[in-house]
């Protein structure tokens, strides 16, 4: 087996935004705002600046963030969102976890088509208006929400008839037509804050080999918003996730199907999983195993974690070459900074065995599970109603 370090991909000069093949949508947003067509919510200060695909600069808010949660993360792999919140608390940053938030509903839109453009834009703008009311800036947890909101933004900017329809619907709800200055994915915040994470890192990850799976709806759907860095993959691939993993000292290993999707398929994961399972196994997990044999694969989306993790049970039963733990960049960073693997990262919701990984990280999972089991017992005995952030150490 030959391992290809990603540093082998040669560095290219940073792209010149003057040569960008696409418009800068933010300029068009501000023009529409000047014309009284909509409101643009500004990125609050302080913010970090990062480079996107065509060399433009994107603002990533450090705090005052309104957390637009993800259906699959909160529902089925809740250590994902819990870790995002934990990272904010660990750094002492102000954030807001709203109940005045719905799903972007794009999973259903891409799966069943039982929706339409005005409805999708209405749902997006309602959520953005809810964020504006609080003064906190939207931080999107799901890559599909992120990708879809970029699509919606494009449609609203370019189609006056859609703007009129959505403005009418929002008027009936008593809300303005509002869009944020930047559409920000939480993994971009993770990327921007990676040096702050390193300052609080308590475990040495230098013995870990990691494969990265980038989420399609993060960097393929309206591609110009994704973060790129000439020092990561020579600027040829998105730097999000990989740069953070490297900052924590782990080795990122390349594999030949990096650009393939995970096989989620939106409707397939729910009603046609034979496709999902086959694709995840044959095009992702087995290829990673064969070419890089990683300790873990890290990704940054709901569907990707679910698909890559849950799809490994059946092929394992058939003695296929699987068995790679899967988690999000937020969970990985939280573990590096000493987060509890069960109280915070909630790894018991994941399927593929991650205990050997925890041991390699230097984390005593047996002691952690005993602590968490006692938490569960206290809840069942009625001694406590819920676990709290104090229990999670932040």
């Amino acid at each position: 087996m030959s391992l290809i370090p990603i540093e082998a991909i040669r560095r290219k000069p940073a792209p010149d935004p003057a040569d960008a093949p696409t418009e800068d949508i933010r300029e068009l947003l501000f023009e529409l705002e000047d014309a009284g067509e909509l409101i643009v919510q500004r990125v609050p200060e302080p913010y970090m600046e990062v480079m996107t695909k065509y060399g433009r600069t994107k603002k990533i808010p450090v705090e005052q963030t309104w957390h637009h949660k993800s259906c699959g993360q909160c529902g089925h792999i809740p250590g994902y969102s819990t870790s995002i919140f934990w990272l904010n608390r660990k750094l002492g940053l102000d954030y807001f976890d709203p109940t005045d938030q719905t799903s972007c509903t794009a999973w259903n839109y891409y799966a069943s088509a039982t929706s339409n453009a005005p409805a999708q834009a209405g749902v997006a703008v309602r959520n953005f208006a809810a964020a504006l009311e609080t003064g906190y800036f939207p931080m999107i947890h799901c890559a599909t929400s992120y990708g879809h909101y970029k699509e919606v933004r494009h449609q609203l900017v370019h189609h006056a008839d859609l703007r009129a329809k959505v403005r009418d619907i929002m008027g009936k709800l008593g809300k303005p037509l509002v869009l944020p200055e930047e559409i920000v994915h939480y993994s971009e915040w993770v990327h921007a804050m990676r040096d702050r994470f390193v300052e609080k890192q308590v475990y040495d990850f230098s013995n870990l080999t990691v494969t990265v799976h980038p989420a399609c709806h993060y960097y393929k759907l309206i591609k110009e918003d994704a973060i790129y860095d000439p020092d990561i993959y020579g600027g040829e691939r998105t730097a999000t996730v990989s740069a953070m993993v490297m900052a924590l000292g782990a080795r990122v290993a390349d594999y030949s199907t990096f650009f393939d999707c995970c096989g989620f398929g939106f409707r397939h994961i729910l009603v046609e999983r034979d496709f999902t399972r086959s694709f995840a196994t044959q095009r992702k997990i087995e290829v990673m195993k064969e070419e890089a044999n990683p300790d873990v694969t890290i990704t940054h989306d709901t569907g990707c974690v679910t698909t890559l993790d849950k799809s490994q049970f059946s092929p394992e039963a058939h003695n296929r070459k699987v068995g790679i733990p899967v988690m999000s960049d937020a969970q990985f960073a939280a573990l590096a900074m000493g987060a509890h693997p069960y109280r915070v990262c909630q790894l018991h919701w994941h399927s593929t065995d991650n205990r050997p990984l925890l041991e390699k990280m230097g984390i005593d999972w047996k002691a952690a599970w005993e602590e968490f089991s006692e938490d569960l017992a206290r809840i069942e005995r009625g001694e406590i109603e819920y676990l709290t952030w104090e229990d999670a150490g932040v």
Binding site: K69, F85, T99, S103, D260
Partner: protein, 245 residues
Amino acid sequence: MATATLAPALFTRDPGATLSPNHYTEVPYEEKLRLWEQVKADSRYSDYMYGCYECGICVAACPSARFYDFSPRKIAQAAGREDVELIYEQMNDDVWNCSQCFSCDRCPRQNSPGGLITILREVAVTNGLASSKKALEGYSRIVYKIMTTGTQVSPDMLQPDAFPDWGPDVRTVSENLDTWRRAMPPETHHTTSASWTVSKKTLTELYLIWHYSGVMDMIAQVDEGLHMIIMDVMEESLEEAGYEI
């Protein structure tokens, strides 16, 4: 020049010039044309279709093309040629195979075959095509969940009979669900019937969006029973909030 005379012929609608082997002969051409006109009239269409080089890059990137008899290039070609017969065939036989990952968006002509498929699916649903009803069989509970709770999936959907291929962990989750949901710090996560706690006011606003945008009419076309159930939930909530639909 040969190419100059060939190009218009390729991209001009001609009922006789179809590449469809199926034809769906029981459906009149006029009906197929009506559906195609709906696709073209969608405001998103002009963002998704610019013409096709027929280079096949989209096929090389497409996950569904590896496991199904499916080609995003054929979708773009049929739209570019306005091959009404073939488009109708695709609307019935192909579009539900798409993974909607948008890997095909690497098209050098800036097409989005995945975006075209989104529209083709919507037109199929809006017009109640039998193939769309069949494709969405077993999916009703998901539509119900997202439209009534404002979240797509919920923890209590993790049942062993629904996810047998995910292994015995699903049973462990379902058996410990209530305790496990309490054993996490974010207050919004202490729920089992939705992904997170969504306020009543928020749900009311979501229901209004479904009504005012015409989504309820789409649901009625694809599943009348589901439409009735969702309407019951929504009307109760909207009436309580002082809205009349």
